[in-house]
């Protein structure tokens, strides 16, 4: 199995791990967003969705474990790549100027990624590990987003997610090697559109809950 570790262990191999896990998270974001949008259907509709989701029982636990594994791979590999890149240029330039290639997304990937990790931990303690015995999930959400601070944190977090994804989606395709004159412009466009949809889709939920 040396061939496998020798391949995955290279810079391109590590980037492949980032790309595949990243694309999985994009898929997760879609499912998560579709689920969250049921909140616009009202309290009962949303709670019914939650109950339906929980009725899958062990499947949910498996999905959670898969997500946790993907997160561990993405965070650890990303950290290794980040420090490797810092190490590749021990002496920095006095003057730094972009030639026009970098975007807000591409130049902030490690930082937005780290902030997202902090947010996800906060988010899990906030909702996932909250008291589910004495209150419905809708109540947990409604209580949280009745406070301005929470609304603010979640909106900022969603902007950060959108920035991360705006580079991440296209970048993942490029890393996998999926570059084609006919499809790459489309993938780049979809990446931007996807990040906007994710940002607005998730970001408006706290505002909606705050205003009702």
């Amino acid at each position: 199995m040396d061939w496998l570790t020798n391949t995955i262990g290279t810079s391109i191999g590590k980037k492949l791990l980032m790309a595949i896990t990243g694309l999985c998270f994009c898929g997760f974001l879609v499912v998560h967003l579709i689920g969250n949008l049921t909140i616009y259907g009202g309290k009962d509709f949303f709670n019914a969705y939650v109950d339906h989701l929980h009725s899958y029982g062990p499947l949910i636990n498996v999905a959670e474990l898969v997500l946790l594994t993907l997160a561990a791979i993405h965070v650890l590999t990303g950290t290794i790549l980040f420090f490797g890149n810092l190490n590749a240029r021990p002496e920095r330039y006095v003057v730094n100027k972009s030639a026009g290639g970098r975007t807000i997304g591409s130049s902030t990937m490690p930082y937005t990624g780290f902030l997202m990790l902090l947010f996800i931990i906060f988010h899990l303690f906030n909702f996932h590990f909250a008291d589910h015995e004495n209150q419905t999930v809708f109540e947990i959400v409604a209580n949280a987003f009745a406070q301005r601070g929470y609304v603010f944190i979640y909106i900022v977090a969603m902007i950060i997610v959108a920035i991360h994804v705006s580079h991440g989606l296209w970048s993942a395709f490029q890393t996998i090697g999926a570059s084609h004159p006919k499809y790459t412009p489309l993938i780049e466009g979809v990446g931007i559109a996807f990040s906007v949809i994710i940002g607005i889709g998730f970001g408006f939920i706290p505002i909606f809950i705050f205003t009702i």
């Binding site: 590749a88 330039y93 972009s98 591409s106 580079h167 090697g177 999926a178």
Partner: protein, 256 residues
């Protein structure tokens, strides 16, 4: 672009006595610089003045001064080979600067590229990478008929575009991560696209990527700064091709 005949500039040049020296920016005046001069000719004028003053002239790399050898290159105001697109430093003319400009001149910076002196950088890591690429098999015996291996024009053009790489190192210098992916991808692509390079393609991809990592280059994060700075405008589609070649070799070929 300035229309003035001559301009006066303030240069802030990286001076470093040797690889172990810490180095620092020093300020020089470049007076009465003709706007028809190339950037290197401007440095020549400054060096003549420094020599007359009994000072050590600024060391910088250069050779053909025609934009084809890949020897010259410094970071000018934070841009590899200066602000013009698709241009080597020797082909950058002083008319692109204005009277009174301050120009900061720094060497390529990467762990794999050590400063030898001032702006001169050791890029032998690229030679090591080329060696890691190995050879292409060429049939001995009588010469083949021309065009007996059909290659679509489009593919030949892509291979030629990749082969335009002059190995100057601007991609590494411009990359926020000091990655050599554009260089390696150009070298892998020019051979992987053509039938002549196919027999050794898997070995070449694996060997060059592993050597690239060992030499201390960074990891590509698709910032695309390399493509924007490359004086030969090598496309990052080559990087995607390198990734494909590497995965094919690593996961699906029998090469270890």
């Amino acid at each position: 672009m300035t229309t003035a005949k001559t301009i006066n500039l303030e240069l802030k040049v990286w001076r470093q006595k040797g690889p172990k020296d810490r180095g620092k920016l020093e300020i020089y005046d470049a007076k009465e610089i003709s706007t028809d001069m190339s950037f290197l000719e401007m440095l020549d004028v400054v060096n003549e003045q420094l020599t007359l003053e009994g000072k050590d002239p600024i060391a910088f790399d250069h050779d053909c001064r025609e934009g084809i050898c890949g020897m010259c290159g410094t970071v000018v105001n934070g841009r590899a080979h200066g602000p013009e697109k698709g241009t080597t430093l020797c082909q950058l003319h002083m008319r692109h600067f204005s009277d009174g400009d301050t120009i900061v001149i720094e060497p390529w910076r990467a762990r794999a590229f050590k400063v030898i002196k001032d702006l001169a950088v050791d890029r032998s890591a690229f030679d090591t990478l080329i060696q890691a690429g190995g050879y292409v098999s060429v049939n001995a015996g009588g010469a083949q008929d021309a065009n007996c291996i059909p290659i679509p024009q489009e593919v030949a053009e892509k291979a030629m575009d990749a082969a335009a790489c002059i190995g100057c190192g601007a991609c590494v210098a411009a990359c926020p991560n000091a990655s050599a992916m554009l260089f390696v991808s150009a070298k892998v692509s020019q051979l992987a696209l053509l039938p002549q390079g196919k027999p050794e393609a898997a070995q070449r991809a694996l060997s060059m990527v592993r050597t690239m990592d060992e030499l201390g280059f960074g990891n590509c994060t698709n910032e695309t700064e390399c493509e924007a700075e490359c004086p030969k405008e090598i496309s990052i589609t080559n990087i995607a091709r390198l990734n494909r070649e590497f995965f094919k070799a690593g996961f699906f070929s029998s090469v270890e």
